[in-house]
Assembly symmetry: C2
Homo-oligomer: 235 residues x 2
């Protein structure tokens, strides 16, 4: 079994990387792994939480089903990212559901194990808090996007987040299908499609699941301009 690979990924995950070596080992020893097929459910909102999850391969989405039936995608996690930190400690109910969007592999650290580690080394608690803060921050950023930006602007920012360059041109690969991207950005697939066409006027061209960005600065400027100005530019 590819146990070494899993360990390596887990150790370089955002949550565990700052832990001392010996605590990493202990936690890895107490953890379990599981593989999921695309579409499988990891847990449902309302279930009580007893473990922290770290994605070691594939993609996992967190979503919420509103009382009226609408689905809101809260976040999508890739290899090396963790979720469920804050929920697990008090055995609270998950506020969201989790589903594999590709075949994936997930490591679970029982919350009691992490609690034990926190008792030994209070620095661990700070790391967990820092990790939770990252999630808080991402949610705040999403709220800002939804409240203060138009659809095409949100798409622009999403694309900017994918290319790890500051300027020039580049080609990025869309990480998951457009249906899910649309959900993540709070819109319908049709609107995503239309947003892509609007972005042609600022030098973005979509081909299959690749997006070619002519000029990163130009796209950033577009995502940061006032909605009403943006409208004139993208006319």
């Amino acid at each position: 079994m590819p146990n070494e690979r899993r360990r390596k990924i887990a150790q370089t995950s955002l949550l565990l990387q700052s832990f001392p070596q010996d605590i990493q080992e202990t936690l890895l020893g107490l953890s379990s792994w599981r593989e999921y097929d695309r579409g499988e459910t990891l847990f449902l909102q309302g279930e009580s939480a007893h473990a922290i999850h770290i994605v070691t391969d594939g993609w996992v989405k967190l979503y919420r089903i509103a009382p009226n039936g609408g689905e809101a995608v809260v976040n999508v996690f890739a290899k090396g990212e963790s979720f469920g930190e804050a929920v697990a400690f008090r055995g609270h109910a998950y506020p969201v559901s989790a589903e594999a969007v590709t075949a994936c592999e997930v490591m679970r650290i029982p919350s009691v194990a992490l609690l034990e580690a926190m008792r030994k080394d209070p620095e661990i608690a700070v790391s967990v808090l820092a990790s939770t803060f990252t999630h808080l921050h991402s949610l705040v950023a999403q709220l800002e996007q939804l409240k203060a930006q138009t659809g095409p602007q949100r798409v622009a920012e999403f694309l900017l987040g994918l290319c790890h360059q500051e300027e020039g041109s580049c080609v990025v690969t869309l990480p998951y299908d457009k249906f899910l991207i649309a959900g993540r950005l709070g819109m319908k697939p049709e609107s995503l499609s239309r947003s892509f066409s609007k972005l042609k006027t600022v030098g973005v061209h979509i081909n299959r699941n690749n997006a070619a960005i002519e000029n990163i600065d130009r796209l950033r400027e577009y995502s940061e301009t006032d909605p009403v100005e943006a409208w004139h530019k993208a006319q």
Copy 2:
């Protein structure tokens, strides 16, 4: 000075209430208080954080200014609520700005003091995490509302959150001005006004800053129905 009152409120705050008596005392001793006038800024996004804030009187709003100039209200905190837990420990930059929406009084616990307390008693760390989780949860709930509910439905849910009853009828007082409520719900004051008029058809009547709810169950049902159905009901 009304030092006793402050202490009492701080001790019953969501963050501190579960702490052992002696740690509460230590933290209170190391904390500072400050009063703010309406409209004053507590801190701005980008500043680095070194303290946890607890509101002991009045209301404080957390908001974010997007690059395009749009304001997104992230949350509004009342007496007894705390914010900034997760940010402070690593001296990270605040992801949001804070402003007094009424005259208010805020207690600050230096993060080093809380860190010290966490070293003494790991249970403290769990409490801080639990408090952070509450914020995470509230953000997730807001995301869901924005993505999956119409304006009037969000207003309905906001009103339901204000009345601490399960059924029957009641009158609630709007806690802050309508401009801010609109921001908190991701809409313009005009839209809030229109939402209120729509809610008349499900038995909600607004008078100055009081909202009379005829039947809580009816309002809840409205907030939970499908947007397209909701439209027919509120016609």
